[in-house]
Subunit: 414 residues, 2 copies
């Protein structure tokens, strides 16, 4: 069996994927398999009893947002009575940052991979501070979500409908030349998103004040494009999934309790282990004692070859995640050790325009003892609080070992 | 005499300058000393007989734009009859990229240095391709200028009037962390400008289509913020000018024929010598044989500590100006050799957030034989053509030697 050839096929498909942001629609209309009693969440499958604080907080918030519960106690009772089903976003071609909760009424981005004719989805980004994805569910959080659903989403959707959509792969490539790494730093990408949307939004029928508020929100939120970027990375990694004999990782995701990966040649199986607490910088008043373990589907960016893997191009990010610019370069250099390709579309000017390290090979991870590096936000461990910092984290090595054993078994290797 | 102390004062004032973009107004109303028969131009003083092709082309275009001439021949005759006066932008607190021609009717940006209570000015940026500042004056060039004067300028002006203005120093600082160097690469800065303007423009009374066109133009032009940045640098360098005993350069400017500098402790005197042809990359179909010598006031950016001096933060620029990312880092490192300070507000993430090299010392330039590095566009040497490339250039060493001799004479040094 030629594993290297299989990996080249898998990563080739990843790089050929060209996801276009086409529109915005309610999750229940857009996402296959969405149901009225279903909440999608980040990471591998998990039941309520094992859910971490921020994921529980986001579940409560989503039930309040849907009008299915009136308060935290009511939401909790609904869940405990078994009236709510939970499934990973990843089981529905979707991804969500941090808690990643998507409920049926929520507006989601719809992307189409025009190379492989596959749709992927993500929610709309709420910005910083007290937000659902970090487990907050106060009235201001819900009010913002309603405005996003009623005003922001429809307006972006209408603006997108007036043209051919946004080529997210091209936007990522451009942002990487503007010192974004595409995961924790999306300042430039979000401004490119604003540049794309601004004239289109100006042309809509909506009132001037509503348009101004939408443009202000998109411009002020340096993570505006994160969710489309994640859904684009989801399209790329799905394209690379399912290649017989490939050891390339096609999913890395965390639910706040477990870190899980999936591998191209190993079908739908998740390999999971307890998630670690990120090592990073904390906002004033918080410390590592407040931190929840690693959470979110956003590691899809590293899985697709950007984020922590593209740190070399984003030296300014160290003010947010810690370390030095030299550490950022070294992070990227280290990731070349465990990947199978250099990206054709995503290049790094500080490394003489070398392609980003792309396609994590579980064999190399285990052999070298080098786990992938992931840039991430840090959530408070209790529901209802929110973000407390940002930093770096690595998946537990055990899941790569499990996956490699499963691979050997599946393919009859010794 | 303590030259070092004088230089510290000069560069301190430069760095304390905080220019705010306040509005847009016709040059004749905004710029002190503007007159109906006066054209301002880039660089040191020059008469028609010695003007290069692109500056002549811009003069013709400005006279057509003003309705003072009907065609190139008519414009040329007007000038030859002595009906037009020429003065440097720099003599009127103004700066202009490339030919830098400002005529009385043209809309100009108005900046206010709130630290030193001084106003500076620059025209509006026309974007790429066939544009007046590169000496083109075809109907499309004039039509765009009219649209800029009638629609773009007033709308930006109205948007600015609705608030406290844009802190251009802060925008430069932010853009330097997004891989702009602030002279030839203003992609991020221009998007920050768009971010500032978009909601404010959305709120104006103007029609949706006009607003959309303005937002599209600002977003598509990766040099949108160049002219405000130049006027901000003009404010900074004016603040550093006039310090008794200082050898810091406060003006570097080219008119397409001569390169001129002025020095803080040497009053209004220009030191000039023939401008060199930049070394760079040419657009398809053009070569160095088409190139005009160095032209434009945009070297005010390097004079203030950005542009070629900040190349280390902008590795992607080498695709535009030539060289390698390592050359870009070395360019910045070299400039520390000839400057007196590291900028307090402008920092470079790839160099561990070191401040940009700021305040060129004519003593160091002459002693070390290292002339400043300038990023620049390259104009065709004939009037009416436009931009043919971009690259790097250095001022002639002779002007620093002249200035140093004048300094020794002025201050009675041997």
């Amino acid at each position: 069996m030629d594993i290297d050839a299989a990996n080249a096929t898998a990563v080739g498909r990843m790089m050929e994927s060209r996801p276009i942001l086409r529109g915005v629609a309610p999750a229940r209309e857009a996402i296959p398999g969405m149901a009225s009693n279903l909440l999608l969440h980040a990471g591998p499958p998990i039941e309520w009893a094992r859910m971490s604080g921020p994921l529980r907080g986001a579940v409560v918030g989503a039930l309040l947002f849907e009008g299915l519960a009136k308060d935290e106690a009511g939401a909790t009772k609904m869940v405990e009575r078994g009236e709510v089903r939970f499934e990973p976003c990843h089981h529905h071609h979707a991804v969500g940052p941090m808690a990643g909760v998507i409920s049926p009424s929520m507006a989601v981005y719809v992307l189409e991979d025009v190379t492989h004719e596959r749709k992927t989805f993500s929610g709309l980004n709420e910005g910083y501070g007290k937000v659902l994805r970090y487990g907050a569910f106060s009235p201001e959080v819900l009010q913002r979500l309603r405005w996003m659903n009623d005003t922001l989403g429809p307006m972006i959707g209408e603006a997108l409908a007036s043209g051919d959509g946004l080529d997210v792969r091209a936007a990522i490539a451009e942002a990487l030349h503007m010192a974004d790494e595409g995961h924790n730093r999306n300042k430039a990408g979000s401004l490119l998103f604003l540049k794309f949307l601004a004239p289109r939004i100006a042309r809509l029928k909506a009132g001037s004040e509503a348009k101004a508020e939408v443009l202000q929100f998109i411009g002020d939120n340096a993570l505006s494009i994160l969710n489309p970027v994640m859904a684009a990375c989801k399209a790329m990694t799905e394209a690379g999934h399912g290649v017989e004999g490939s050891t390339v990782v096609t999913t890395m995701a965390r639910n706040g309790t477990d870190f899980g990966i999936r591998v191209s040649g190993l079908g739908d199986a998740w390999f999971t282990a307890p998630a670690a607490v990120p090592d990073g910088l904390y906002f004033p008043g918080f410390s590592a004692a407040d931190a929840n373990p690693d959470i979110g589907d956003s590691a899809i960016t590293e899985t697709a070859g950007i984020g922590g893997f593209a740190m070399a191009t984003a030296p300014a990010i160290v003010t947010f995640v810690g370390g030095t610019p030299r550490d950022a370069v070294n992070a990227t250099l280290e990731m070349y050790e465990i990947t199978v390709a250099e990206h054709k579309s995503f290049t790094l000017p500080p490394l003489d325009f070398r392609g980003t390290p792309t396609g994590i090979d579980i064999r190399k991870v285990v052999e070298l003892g080098i786990a992938p590096r992931i840039n991430t936000g840090i959530a408070h461990r209790l529901p209802g609080v929110g973000q407390v910092g940002a930093g770096l984290v690595r998946p537990p090595m055990a899941i790569f070992e499990q996956a490699l054993l499963a691979f050997a078994e599946r393919y009859g290797l010794q």
